[in-house]
């Protein structure tokens, strides 16, 4: 029965390094690029395509024309360098500041720069809640009043009065809801704030302006342009459309009939109308409706329209998140004895918003890119400016350089937003999927 055993290894062999063909760059390529004849073929074809494009485009991009002062001079530079065809980067050198700031007075550039640096600071506690001290939230709350003041300038009392409205409203809410009911408190808060804004604040700011004229040099909306305009419209529309969208989404699911149908009507109307139509309404129709001589700031009109447009889409995205929540979550909240707002705040919204993150961010990105549509109503956003720059006899005929530069900057912002949303999703991932 027993067999003769010729050899038994008594000790373990030392571990050997894996074969060089399965680790490192070669291994990665074997696994990912050349794992079969089909993949190998696709890899080779793709490489060929990439190479061809690079060979075509790189000489065009790497052209020695940074110092050119007109299209013809660029051509002379190219001819002198014996370069063949190439981009004329002189236009970017001469105009990049204009593309960023539009017609904003150069000595005041620090104001938009400061506004956007502070914007990052104000967003930090919201975007990176776990890494930034929560005390910064106070600054975030103050920022909406600092932002327009820095950009548009004027007396400091205007933004302060606007902020005071919120404070007064909050006080009224506290007092009335303590004495009566919370619904009455909300109503009282809103009424007090509106009364302040509509009736009192104008008079008081006027008085304060004359007594204590502290302020920045005012800059008119017409001076706004370039990326500063795009980012301003984008930031305001994004920041305002999220809360508005949440309210609309909740309103659409509400049991109160009037609220529900108002929200449904608003959402469906806005979504049924192209953004360009709304912009034309803002730029031309409103002009005709309003009494002659009224000066209702064009950028403000555009901001309102873009925000309304974005909030209707946002509402539907968030409604999708609400619909995805299992019914048990709502019932669980009820069984804990939470009231409607508590349930929304503590249980429903955190989950619904988490589910909707990709949709919300893609709406944000869409809104930011849609800001270029304002060039159609004569605002000089980057695309509008590119047209104006081409109207300079020196740069007439330049197309790709300008569009390439603008596309690069838009890509930078949109890619950043997209990456952040992926980070947020990973961070909030709780393993339910």
């Amino acid at each position: 029965m027993s067999k003769q055993i010729a050899y038994v290894r008594t000790e373990m062999l030392p571990q050997q390094a894996p074969p060089s063909t399965s680790v490192g760059a070669i291994g990665w390529m074997r696994a990912n690029l050349f794992s079969g004849w089909l993949n190998t073929a696709i890899t080779l074809v793709s490489l060929l395509v990439i190479l061809t494009i690079a060979v075509e485009i790189l000489p065009w991009v790497l052209s020695p024309t940074w110092g050119g002062t007109s299209l013809n001079e660029c051509r002379e530079l190219l001819a002198a360098a014996d370069h063949g065809s190439g981009a004329c980067w002189g236009v970017i050198r001469e105009r990049w500041i204009q593309l960023l700031f539009g017609f904003y007075p150069p000595e005041l550039y620090w104001r938009p720069i400061l506004a956007f640096v502070l914007l990052a600071l104000a967003l930090a506690p919201i975007l990176f809640a776990d890494k930034v001290p929560a005390k910064l939230l106070v600054f975030s709350a103050a920022y909406p009043f600092i932002f327009p003041w820095l950009l548009w300038g004027g007396m400091i009392w205007g933004p302060l009065a606007a902020a005071a409205g919120f404070v007064l409203g909050a006080i009224a809410y506290r007092v009335v809801s303590g004495a009566f009911s919370s619904l009455l408190g909300v109503i009282a808060g809103v009424v007090v704030a509106l009364l302040w804004w509509l009736l009192l604040s104008g008079f008081i700011t006027g008085l304060l302006d004359s007594i204590l004229p502290i302020g920045l040099e005012p800059v008119e909306s017409r001076k706004f342009g370039g990326f500063m305009l795009s980012i301003t419209i984008g930031v305001v529309a994004i920041a305002c459309s999220l809360p508005l969208g949440i309210v609309l989404a909740l309103g659409r699911q509400s049991d109160l009939m009037i609220v529900k149908y108002l929200c449904v009507g608003f959402i469906e109307f806005i979504r049924g109308v192209p953004l360009i139509t709304l912009l034309f309404v803002a730029s031309t129709l409103l002009n005709i409706f309003m009494p002659p001589g009224t000066n209702f700031d064009i950028i403000l009109r555009v901001l309102i329209m873009v925000t309304l447009f974005a909030s209707a889409y946002m509402a539907e995205v968030i409604r999708g998140g609400l619909a995805a929540l299992p019914k048990g979550q709502y019932e669980g909240a009820d069984s804990l004895g939470l009231n409607y707002w508590q349930a929304q705040r503590l249980i429903i919204m955190p989950q619904a918003l988490k589910i909707s993150i990709p949709g919300i961010v893609s709406t944000f990105i869409g809104v930011f890119k849609d800001t270029t549509l304002v060039s159609i109503i004569g605002l000089l956003d980057p695309l509008g400016l590119s047209n104006a720059i081409r109207a300079d006899a020196n740069w007439n005929g330049i197309v790709w350089e300008l569009y390439g530069f603008i596309a690069l900057i838009f890509f930078f912002f949109c890619f950043g937003m997209s990456r952040y949303s992926m980070y947020l999703e990973r961070k909030l991932q709780t393993g339910h999927r």
Binding site: N72, F103, P144, W152, A162, N295, L300, L303, A391, N396
Partner: protein, 338 residues
């Protein structure tokens, strides 16, 4: 979170709100600035430079009016308008004057309730073809593909011209002049048609302008001029006679170089009346007597403005042609200053 941005901005807008309209001239004087509608960008006619300063042939009209009324050619707020927003901007009072290469037509003057105050450039639609096509007249373009901007009068003119000459063409619709340049150079169309001034400006940007010819036929009348609202005749008069002053100045030989000397008084009563050393023409307009002198000093007379912005020594390189003085066989003719 930032709902309040609205209220902040609303307050600021409220601060900037102007008073209700009286006469346009009083408004302009009270404001200290002339709101002038210009194109968002048209080579030679209006374009901002790297510092954001607007310049060009249409812009010069705005500056002359500002100089006449406000004594400061830089007291102009330029409002860029597109083809779609220009008329509402004027009708609603957002701008006081529109100088945006706008063709004077019956319906714009009568139906849209505007007042064209004159013509500062006589344009017309032309054709550009590559030289190698060997075409010397637009009537030889049978079967050609034509790049044409959609939704403009040029599109209708083109159809009329080809039908009248009983020849066929194939339109290649494009949206902007920049796109047209690319399409035409890429060979997507044999012919590019738009206003002759635009053709010249486009051709000037080509790497080899000599390879392209502009055909002699001009198939439409495009008198371009500044316009104001109907019903405010005092303001219309100011703009009309400012434009006329520029044109007349060229006819009488008043230039930005010799205007100081001439305004001390000359033997020519017409010049004296224009420059305010004789008569009370300025007071009749509601301005002072040196209004025309300031308007001409702002950018020179009509001929100087033309030479500086779109003339033969500029990249646009337009000849005077129809826009020469009537004494030189053109159409520029100012009524007498009397």
């Amino acid at each position: 979170m930032k709902k309040s941005v609205f209220f902040g901005a609303l307050t600021l807008a409220g601060l900037a709100a102007g008073a209700a309209a009286a006469g346009t001239m009083d408004d302009v004087k009270a404001r200290g600035k002339l709101n002038c509608g210009v194109s968002t960008g048209l080579v030679g006619f209006s374009a901002p430079d790297a510092n954001g300063e607007w310049g060009g042939f249409d812009v010069a009209v705005c500056r002359a009016v500002a100089a006449a009324v406000l004594s400061d050619p830089s007291a102009v707020e330029f409002v860029p308008t597109t083809g779609k927003t220009r008329f509402t901007a004027l009708a609603s009072g957002e701008i006081d004057l529109l100088a945006r290469n706008t063709t004077w037509t019956f319906s714009r003057d009568v139906d849209l309730k505007f007042e064209f105050v004159g013509v500062n450039y006589y344009d017309g639609q032309g054709f550009m073809v590559p030289k190698e096509l060997g075409v010397s007249s637009a009537k030889e373009l049978d079967g050609a593909t034509v790049c044409i901007q959609t939704g403009t009068t040029t599109e209708l003119n083109l159809a009329d011209f080809f039908r009248a000459n009983n020849i066929s063409y194939e339109p290649v619709p494009i949206e902007t002049n920049a796109e047209a340049q690319q399409q035409y150079l890429a060979g997507a169309c044999d012919v590019y048609t738009t206003d002759a001034s635009g053709l010249a400006a486009t051709r000037a940007t080509f790497e080899n302008p000599g390879d392209h010819v502009i055909l002699p036929e001009i198939i439409s009348k495009e008198p371009l001029g500044p316009l104001v609202r109907h019903g405010d005749n005092e303001w219309g008069d100011v703009v009309r006679w400012t434009l006329n002053a520029l044109i007349a100045a060229e006819e009488y030989g008043i230039t930005s170089a010799n205007i100081e000397e001439l305004s001390k008084g000359t033997n020519n009563p017409e010049i004296n009346r224009l420059l305010g050393t004789e008569g009370t023409l300025g007071e009749m307009l509601g301005l002072d007597k040196e209004w025309a002198k300031r308007a001409i000093s702002a950018g020179g007379n009509y001929g100087e403005i033309f030479a500086k912005t779109i003339g033969e020594n500029t990249p646009v390189g337009l000849a005077r042609g129809l826009n020469a003085q009537w004494t030189n066989g053109g159409l520029m003719y100012s009524p007498p200053f009397r």
